[in-house]
Symmetry: D3
């Protein structure tokens, strides 16, 4: 496969991740299930800056997602880390901590995380969790 087509692939996956995420967040929001909607709100609140700044809280979220081996959660937190200004070197160090805590079982997720990070660094890629011009579902 040429490097170009690999880039295309990763771009498609990123686009698909965002669209599905946003469509389903909206769908779940519209269900008006009290427990679930309140949990989504609380989930947003936990990462707001407080005694710890936003960057450190995203590091906590990314680290937890790595050791629990959830690709979508890892993708979300890596995009957020880039959005709020963590350097690639800083993100790699969180990947290192996650790998040591979680062991070799984390490696397949590490591969996909690095592939996403490279895609986010490709010129022209929009680095944001939700597509531009859309409201957040939660």
């Amino acid at each position: 496969m040429t490097e170009r087509s690999e880039g295309k692939q990763a771009q498609d996956r990123l686009q698909e991740f965002r669209e599905f995420r946003e469509r389903m967040n909206r769908r779940i929001f519209e269900q008006k299930d009290l427990v679930i909607n309140r949990f989504f709100a609380l989930d947003g609140q936990a990462y707001k800056p407080g005694a710890l700044d936003e960057k450190t809280k995203e590091v906590a979220g990314l680290s937890a997602s790595l050791v629990l081996r959830c690709d979508d959660c890892i993708a979300y937190h890596i995009i957020r880390c880039k959005e709020i200004g963590l350097s690639d070197q800083q993100i790699w160090e969180v990947l290192g901590v996650g790998l040591i805590v979680g062991g070799s079982i984390v490696i397949p997720h590490l591969r996909r995380a690095v592939d996403l990070l490279d895609e986010l660094n490709r010129p022209g890629t929009v680095v944001s969790v939700d597509p531009p011009g859309h409201d957040h579902g939660s």
Copy 2:
């Protein structure tokens, strides 16, 4: 139970945790198993300051330990967080992120984490992972 005797209990648990941890680290180190000893060394290296400072790396370690629900690992990282100067408020915010990511199954570990934090804040408690006057086993 009086509050005083509760303090005594938590102090005993903390003492026991440190002694067992240190004795077994030394025992494992002396076995000279190449893979295990190298992993222990690498484990130490992952938390050394780099692009991220030591505090942020300890936050990553504490967050991962919370969602993996390992009391000993949570205890280790909370003590390290206190040692290197994270405020209680900052530690509580990591507990909050861990609770949201990991769910109510984290609550029993949250209770024990808060109990330990209170013990570490009790006047006279030595805040260090290893007992004073001892070498680290790894």
Copy 3:
């Protein structure tokens, strides 16, 4: 993407899930591995009505699948819940309990669960775990 083509996508995924599940169940059954075949039989037995009715046992199975974050198991139990007559509202409440127990790491699986539930509710969708006219592999 139009809503129609989304429906097509979810329908394809559902079809693929059933076909692969059934083909491999048959393949595994034909291997005649004693331990594995007995486990499959026992797995069926655990959900048979007893002191608890079938619906409550499927709720137990769905809740466990959610917190263990297994998409195929979640899909299986949601289809079964629909087959034996749980209402959508009841299924949403199980999703809520699973989300609270398992935390935000469950959210990507919740999104796929809700997408499947919507597909099962689309006019013309056959709500059964195995394709019509086929025997169960186990």
Copy 4:
């Protein structure tokens, strides 16, 4: 060991579980951490009767706790199941589903769950999560 002293032991463990749980719930509540306190409230809300009755929701909670192998959570939900009137036979069937979904790794937790259930059935044991005469911490 005589059966009588075993009963004493289980009773002590049950008493200790309740006291620590209640003391720390109160301690956490008093910290007034917004994210954590809201999560505790939401945790209570998820089990309130709705389209599913309280018993079915407790079954969902017990099943999830079994496969996630959390002794304190299993203990909590077994006591709640008894409090709201599930029969022992019904609880055993949830244990069976949890064992099949989660595998032999659940067995040590199953042993402790059955030991607790026997203790709750011992004449004179108070079947409630919190000691009488105390307010809930959350």
Copy 5:
């Protein structure tokens, strides 16, 4: 603490583990729950020699128990490994694989596993899962 009293402690823990395990296996067996009793029987069957000998199957069981971080399961499989003749060096290598696959979160369980192994090697310790003169509950 003197080395002697440490030995005493480990010996007590080993004794307690065996007694509780045996008492509860018998209790569960007597309940005559079909699903649970059949699962216990199947659990025994999976480790019987076949195309793989008993030692290799115990290695598989120990490795799985390590990465799932279940102390009782680790203890059971280490005692079985010793009973059927694996050398300490061989057991240490399984501990190494489990540590690498499962990561640093395995370390507290590794410490307790090594402590148990040392206790089993202490002159006079009976190396068997169940106390002598007792029938197995399953």
Copy 6:
């Protein structure tokens, strides 16, 4: 679907797994992150023959991967098991142990494992983890 086209599908998945694995291993290696590269080296070392032969260590790795439910890790260890000469019957027995320890939640991964094993046994399939003529990234 004809059996032929199923074979084609499995072959494509196997090819894709190898190419992505190798490309990302090389990418990660070139990043020269000390902690991560050392961990990859240590991961290779843990499976080298010692007191246990290579086959037994691969059994330990496969068993751990099954209960942690990581498809890529299961695929890697099954290919390795075939490469170093474990018989299909031996691999099936490890699948059996993994299923019993990990429970029904392992079944979807068991299905994919058996599908891969069948593909590896198809005449003309190259049984190796990395594509021929390529260097290992780690």
